[in-house]
């Protein structure tokens, strides 16, 4: 594996592990409190407080946020790895991908 491939693999493995871990915590908390799976995500602004209260929905939501964020982090990781390899073309290409990703999230919100 070259450095770019190794970076991608590490980011993805960590992302999956953290995400599954958080969802598992949420499920265990849910069973402990005798609650079923929540029917809606906890909004990001309300997350810290809900996490502190050990609400199952908060841990499940954070787990899913981590899962969804992993490809973004993967692209950032590739960008850094290409920069270390001094591959200017691919630093540029990866930056464009990242910018368009962020742009479409912003446009989708509007």
């Amino acid at each position: 594996m070259d450095p770019v491939e190794r970076t991608i693999r590490t980011v993805l493995l960590v992302g999956i592990a953290v995400s599954v871990g958080l969802m598992a915590v949420g499920l265990v908390l849910g069973v402990a409190r005798g609650e079923a799976l929540p029917r809606a995500m906890v909004p990001i602004s309300a997350l810290p407080a809900a996490l502190a209260r050990l609400e199952p929905a908060a841990y499940v939501s954070l787990g899913l946020i981590v899962l969804v964020a992993t490809p973004f982090v993967r692209v950032v990781g590739s960008l850094v790895a290409f920069a270390f390899e001094r591959d200017r073309t691919y630093v540029l290409i990866t930056t464009i991908v990242l910018v368009v990703m962020c742009l479409s999230v912003l446009l989708g919100r509007a």
Binding site: M1, E5, A36, V75, Y90, R109
Partner: protein
Amino acid sequence: MGVLIGILLVAFLAGVFGSMLGVGGGVIMVPMLTLAFGVPIKTAVATSIVCVIATSSMAQTSFVSRGMTNVRLGMLLEVATTIGAVAGGVTAVLVDGRVLQVCFAAVLLYVVWQMNRRRGDGEPLRTGVLEAGYYDPASGEEVRYGVRRTRLGFVLCLGAGNVSGLLGVGGGAFKVPIMNLLMGAPLKATIATSNLMIGVTAATSAAIFYGRGYMDPHWVVPAALGILAGARLGPRLAVRLPARVLSVTFQVVLGVFAVLMVLKAIGAPL
């Protein structure tokens, strides 16, 4: 409890096929969720998008460590697919959705016909463009290849991104034939690379769906867990099976996908 186990099983199978073929499993998840479990369509699409991300991430850990993913090719084409996905909203306003669906179905059937005619990969091309190599355990050979028609492939990926933006699928069904049939990359490298690419498009859509409140943990959590398990198995199958078997499976899945799209276009309750 029965529903939970049902979702886990369906997601597991979608994970196996989605990662084995590089299409992400949305093709299987959306109709199954709406038809078999009565999930509302937007919730089903949101669930399926999370599943595509999970498939992509999990499968990639395996493909990338085997050197099957052509990271540079994937990143280059991601420029096109992400821009295409952003433009998806514009296309949706300009063209009637049902006309689009029928057109897509026609393209898919054309792809099936082309893949069927070719009967697996030919000799790998040595073009020197975006060259990469991997070890194929099925044939016991080291395969080195380059790609051709990069510009045309890039332009068509704009279209593939557009489709995924419109239909809420990862677009792998189009990316695989573009890289394999048009650009000449071997099928296994194509499947691995498509797997990497679909995660990016799906993550963008998922962020939007999350913001709009379409994600229901009741469906998403078991689906994501099932798909993660399935996507651990799929790449192993993809690596070991002969390219011919993968190609035929791909044709069947694409054929079913095309038929479902036509049914949807003519107003069948999917």
